[in-house]
């Protein structure tokens, strides 16, 4: 049963994939598993679909752990998947959401990198695809999107951790999401989860020009980080990527926004800078718990503001 799973511990890819099957078994009619592609090393790219039926419903896309070493992100993805499933029929917001929209959650967005963090290099960030003419492997999957591709904040050096790759969507892990969102055609929100800077960010990253929806996104982000802070007092900053962190070209949410997905956000989860990517497992449950109201704020706003 998914209830026997330890949500307060870090897990391997096999453990998480196996748990996803259990979640599907425990919630028939609500949760299903779909494969959207394969990684460079041939691993399945799996997405949990939360749906109460109907076809072509508007949808929300959430991915966690596109940077493999940010383990708190994948762990939060697991907890969140379970929370969505358990709260349907219990929490009025989740129930209303899933009665009208579908949620897609990709917990391990970079499985090759994730496995590599468990087997060989805990601090690996990129994909694991080879680069022609270089001994360095991998592309930063959050610089590989066709949104200002190759611009500031990304690198053309295959040895760099922010290498943008040879061309947009060169990485199978990225292309699979691109194809899925385009093919679906009715995705209204993309939420991409990272760690560890405690931020809620929105487009743009590749330019400091405010997006046309800046005001609305800013208000929503303000509410979300306020509700997040109400749980344990964790302070988040918020704003556009370019204003809040730095100019970063080729990112997931900029691509999504440019595709017409208005509510595109990226979260940077804990920590404050004591552990970085090595956040102790004792912080998984608090992190996931405090993130939940922020996620729910965004999802409910999407539900209540159709476009």
């Amino acid at each position: 049963s998914s209830r026997a799973f330890d949500f307060g511990s870090y897990h391997t890819l096999d453990e998480i994939y196996s748990w996803m099957d259990t979640l599907v078994e425990d919630h028939p009619g609500l949760v299903s598993k779909i494969q959207i592609g394969q990684s460079y090393e041939g691993r399945d790219l799996l997405v949990l679909k939360f749906s109460t039926g109907g076809s072509a419903r508007p949808a929300i896309w959430v991915d966690t752990g596109i940077h493999s070493r940010e383990w708190i992100s994948q762990a939060t993805g697991v907890w969140t998947a379970n929370k969505i499933a358990e709260e349907y029929g219990r929490d009025p917001s989740v129930t209303a959401l899933l009665d009208n929209m579908d949620v897609f959650l990709e917990i391990i967005a970079n499985p090759d990198g994730f496995v590599f963090t468990h087997s060989s290099d805990r601090l690996w960030r990129k994909t694991r695809s080879p680069n022609t003419g270089s001994h360095c492997l991998g592309v930063d999957p959050n610089r590989n999107w066709d949104a200002g591709f190759g611009g500031a904040g990304s690198s053309g050096d295959p040895c760099s951790d922010i290498y943008h790759g040879p061309f947009p969507h060169s990485e199978r892990e990225v292309k699979a999401i691109v194809d899925f969102i385009r093919g679906h055609g009715n995705v209204k929100s993309v939420i991409s989860i990272h760690s560890y800077s405690q931020m809620l960010l929105f487009p743009y990253g590749y330019t400091s020009v405010p997006s046309p929806d800046y005001q609305e996104m800013n208000e929503l982000a303000k509410k979300a980080v306020s509700d997040l802070a109400a749980v344990y007092g964790t302070k988040y900053t918020f704003g556009s990527i370019a204003d809040t962190i730095y100019t970063a070209a080729g990112t997931t949410v900029d691509w999504a926004y440019d595709q017409g997905v208005k509510y595109s956000f990226t979260l940077e989860l804990r920590d404050t800078g004591r552990h970085g990517f090595l956040l102790p497992s004792s912080q998984i449950l608090p992190t996931a718990t405090e993130t939940w109201p922020a996620l729910l704020d965004i999802m409910v706003h999407v539900l209540e503001h159709p476009y």
């Binding site: 330890d6 511990s9 060989s120 805990r122 601090l123 560890y196 800078g273 004591r274 970085g276 102790p280």
Partner: protein
């Protein structure tokens, strides 16, 4: 398995644009093999660097010679990794 014995993570605060630019130069010095956990994105924002043990002297020397304020965020990365591994093993041993 890659080992990180003696590697430290330094938290650096650039005072101005000039220092931020200097930090970016550090990133480009491949021989130091520094790993930016948080990239330098301007004055007032911390940058976190994992510095391999063999490069610690050179990097700290660089920071001190340019009067960068910095603190050691993680004293020994491998110690934390060992703790993490032990926590995972312990969790698997617990019968649920």
């Amino acid at each position: 398995q890659r080992q990180f014995q003696g590697d430290q993570v330094l938290r650096i605060m650039a005072r101005d644009e000039e220092q931020a630019a200097l930090l970016k130069m550090l990133e480009e010095q491949e021989e130091l093999q520094v790993d930016f956990w948080r990239h330098p994105f301007g004055p007032g924002h911390p940058a976190d660097l994992r510095v391999p043990f063999p490069s610690l002297g050179a990097v700290k020397g660089f920071l001190e010679s340019h009067s960068f304020p910095y603190t050691v965020m993680i004293e020994d990365v491998q110690e934390l990794l060992d703790e993490e591994k032990e926590a995972m093993a312990r969790s698997r041993r617990v019968k649920r």
